[in-house]
């Protein structure tokens, strides 16, 4: 498959960004340094190009029912302008993707599959719609939108400066974008462009995610005067929070996990009827055998994806993500452990290039947010 590029690829290249392949997209991984970009987001603000994320619009009379059946959370609880985190699971309750669902002011739904999953999600929605004879239109708009995340303690001030006017549904209550609630989305004008601005993110910081038409991407990007950040810093920021990375912390082929194992049971509403509901209800009944948790290394070294986790010298799991935390200056890791070993403070080992390093189970987030 041909590599896809975000609309601002040449702008990032001129700025000196390094690039990496991510989910079939050639995305900026680093502009200045991961440490500098990470610190900017924790202490001030940074902007990420996340145009590799998919956008699928679902509208029509049965749009809500279709979303309800194919995501694990209760979509019917969303009013216009609401946003919700959920999973896309199969009949066995295994996570195929995680996604944010936005209830747009016009009554349609927009959900955001991870990089490279948009076509698969579109097909899944279309197939299910056709099988169940639901009346809904499914449109893959991934190529139409650019998406930026502006994150950090100063992100909302920057957003107030950048947003020229807001539309529905915020306008009914206020015309100040600062009043946009967490997990809400509104129409807004930025740099003259008709955008969607959501108070969501993936860093643990306050901030927004902005969707804009690709032709307006350069002007909208320039409207936020802060540190440009790449996927490298996005990864260290999300790891400090213990947020999952699709394809790494779960993967339907290589590391099949249910939302309960992955620690995101809050995104599952068993009172709704969705694909995988019965399997998850059964799992909730008996409990999980393994669960997602964090580790802090107590010896020098860095735990990386795939490294073995041990207990009393025996292998008990694998690291799914690991790095040196730029905030803590400690080696942190994420992975699955047998439930009986997943309590905070449990001493385990991580095998780093043949050497077993001492590590302590620590429920994320690793930082106080």
């Amino acid at each position: 498959m041909a590599t896809r590029r975000p609309p601002l690829y040449p702008v990032h290249e001129d700025r000196g960004a390094g690039f990496t392949d991510f989910g079939g997209w050639e995305m900026p991984v680093e502009f200045d340094s991961i440490r500098a970009e990470h610190a900017a987001v924790r202490e001030a603000a940074g902007i990420f190009d996340v145009s590799h994320m998919g956008e699928i619009r679902v509208d029509g009379p049965d749009a809500e029912t279709l979303m309800q059946r194919l995501t694990t959370n209760d979509v019917s609880s969303l009013g216009p302008g609401g946003a919700q985190y959920g999973c896309i699971t199969d009949e066995d309750g295994v996570i195929h993707d995680d996604t944010m669902t936005y209830a747009l002011p016009d009554g349609s739904y927009l959900f955001v599959p991870n990089a490279g999953h948009d076509e698969e999600a579109e097909q899944h929605w279309v197939d299910y719609r056709d099988e169940t004879d639901l009346d809904a239109r499914v449109t893959n708009e991934t190529e139409d939108w650019a998406m930026f995340a502006v994150q950090g303690p100063e992100a909302m001030d920057l957003t107030v400066d950048a947003v020229e006017s807001v539309g529905a549904p915020l306008a009914e209550e206020s015309d100040d974008i600062a009043d946009l609630g967490r997990f809400s989305i509104t129409e807004a004008t930025v740099a003259g462009a008709d955008c969607l601005v959501a108070r969501t993110g993936y860093t643990g910081e306050d901030g927004v995610e902005v969707l804009c038409p690709v032709d307006d991407a350069e002007a909208v990007w320039a409207a936020f005067d802060c540190q440009p950040c790449g996927l490298g810093a996005r990864d260290t920021l999300r790891m400090e929070m213990g947020f999952l990375l699709s394809g790494q912390d779960f993967d339907p082929e290589e590391n099949p996990r249910t939302p309960f194992e992955a620690g995101i049971g809050f995104a599952v509403d068993l009172d709704t009827e969705f694909v995988g509901r019965d399997a998850l209800a059964a799992q909730q009944e008996v409990g999980v055998e393994e669960q997602f948790t964090g580790l802090v290394l107590q010896e020098r070294g860095i735990a990386r994806h795939g490294y073995e986790i041990t207990h009393d010298g025996e292998p008990v799991g694998e690291v799914t993500s690991g790095t040196m935390s730029p905030t803590l200056n400690e080696a942190i890791a994420l992975g699955y452990l047998p439930t009986e070993l997943a309590d905070d403070g449990t001493e385990v080992g991580v095998v780093v290039r043949g050497d077993e390093k001492r590590a302590t189970v620590t429920t994320p987030p690793f930082i106080d947010k």
Binding site: G16, V29, E30, S33, I34, R35, G232, D235, T236, R300, G301, I302, R304, T323, M324, P326, A331, R353
Partner: protein
């Protein structure tokens, strides 16, 4: 982007440098530190250990990557840059100076002939 390639030392294709005096000081190039990004950990042999030309002798880790370190020439390790234990970022800040890795007593002077001079290495990374 242009990288600093001092001409007072020689280079391995895998981006390590070595001075040609004794003891021979070893480090990684400006290009290598830039490619790695923020260095957060360096694993080195101990004093008294022997390292072998073209074979891995340690590891340098940045936030985003793990990279083996290869010996430009064979010899006994006579000094290790202990500052890197607490300040691995010195590899980024001063790769040819304070960010050096170790010093060795070379055992086979002819191995220097296998290394690139600054012009050749500069062409490799151009």
């Amino acid at each position: 982007m242009s990288f600093d390639v001092p001409d007072d030392r020689k280079y391995l294709a895998s981006h390590e440098w070595a001075t040609t005096d004794e003891p021979t000081r070893v480090g990684i190039s400006d290009f290598a530190q830039d490619e790695l990004g923020d260095v957060v950990f360096v694993e080195l042999p101990d004093e008294g250990d022997t390292i072998t030309h073209d074979e891995a002798f340690g590891v340098v880790e940045s936030i985003k990557a793990v990279s083996d370190l290869y010996a430009p020439v064979s010899g006994e390790v006579v000094a290790v840059n202990e500052k890197l234990r607490d300040q691995p970022e010195l590899v980024n800040e001063d790769p040819y100076g304070d960010g050096w890795l170790l010093e060795i007593e070379p055992s086979d002077e002819s191995e220097f002939e296998d290394l690139m001079d600054a012009d050749e290495y500069g062409e490799q990374i151009a």
